[in-house]
Amino acid sequence: MHRTKVRIVEDALDANNTIARANRDDFDRHGVTVVNLMSAPGAGKTTLLERVLAEPLGDIRVGVLEGDVQGSYDADRLASLHVPVVQLNTDSGFGGECHLDANMVRSALPSLPLHDIDLLVIENVGNLVCPAEFRVGEDVRAMVCSVTEGEDKPLKYPLMFRSCELVVINKLDLLPHLDVDLDRLLYNLEAVHPGVRTMTASARTGDGVDELRRWLLELTAGHDRGAAAVV
């Protein structure tokens, strides 16, 4: 019996990234723009989505993939919006996975009406750590950060804040009741991710929701142009 050294030099997440690329290819083939929406639990992803999708998003057809450890509470809430919503539960994993990975999203592809949508919003499991590690085939990553979480969160979870192209600061209506300094929060965000696009919003009052709707519209329209250029 002897020992052999096997040289690997491989990113531990290579297997996930390979599947993520396959997902991305499938989305591209159908001309679907994909946003991976992430946040801490309770930051307001679902409420914000309810607001954003309350009215048609121009002529863009939207679908939602809801990732949760258990249950279909969020999918049920979105069901009244008349957009296709597919629920994905992660509790078949080891104690319930705390994030979506590329393979889980792949397993949901047959349930998604890719022919009939232009934009897919994947609402990830609420968690500021693990979802940042796992690409799922998205075009862009967006996150919701509520002011109630405190101004230090970008400094504590730089991996997540650095991985996103857009950060929506939510629950702005609560600011008068908090000791949180919004400028300090934005300063910390800029320190961790220089130049990242930021928006402020209140899903409760609807403030800032139009800006997010415009961002999604432009993102989807831009993606279409990109796809046309390739053809």
């Binding site: 096997v6 690997i8 491989e10 080891f94 693990c130 979870y157 991996l159 220089p194 130049g195």
Partner: protein, 128 residues
């Protein structure tokens, strides 16, 4: 939480390259920007590796310091806290040179003439 996901991903990579041979060592390079806590990763490693070819494998974690480079002034430095503006000139055109690794560098496996019954059992995934 994070370390459990990372441990599972490392295990998957090691298993794929082990080709059913028992693994004695897994050498991992982890950049400090990945926010992985080595003790926590080692703890979860023992749990996820149980009953696999990596059951007896030691996880060796090599932590890589973060290195940032400023495109504006050429300054290279190791940040003390998460600040991605240049420490010398303040520019924001900063790239990460090192510190984002999560790389299985190599594994050590035992080559066997005759695989023991126990190991064969662990490696067998098909129906009996």
């Amino acid at each position: 939480m994070h370390e459990l996901s990372v441990a599972s991903a490392v295990l998957e990579t090691a298993q794929r390259h082990a080709e059913r041979r028992p693994v004695t060592l897994v050498a991992l390079r982890v950049g400090r920007l990945r926010q992985v806590v080595p003790d926590s990763l080692s703890f979860y490693w023992e749990i996820v590796a149980r009953g696999t070819v990596c059951d007896q494998a030691r996880l060796e974690i090599d932590e890589i310091d973060a290195r940032l480079h400023c495109a504006a002034c050429g300054h290279d430095w190791t940040p003390g806290w998460p600040e991605f503006h240049c420490a010398a000139c303040g520019a924001s055109d900063v790239t990460v040179v090192a510190g984002e690794e999560l790389e299985v560098e190599y594994i050590e496996v035992q080559e066997h003439e005759a695989v023991t019954a126990g190991r064969e059992e662990a490696a067998c995934t098909g129906p009996r």
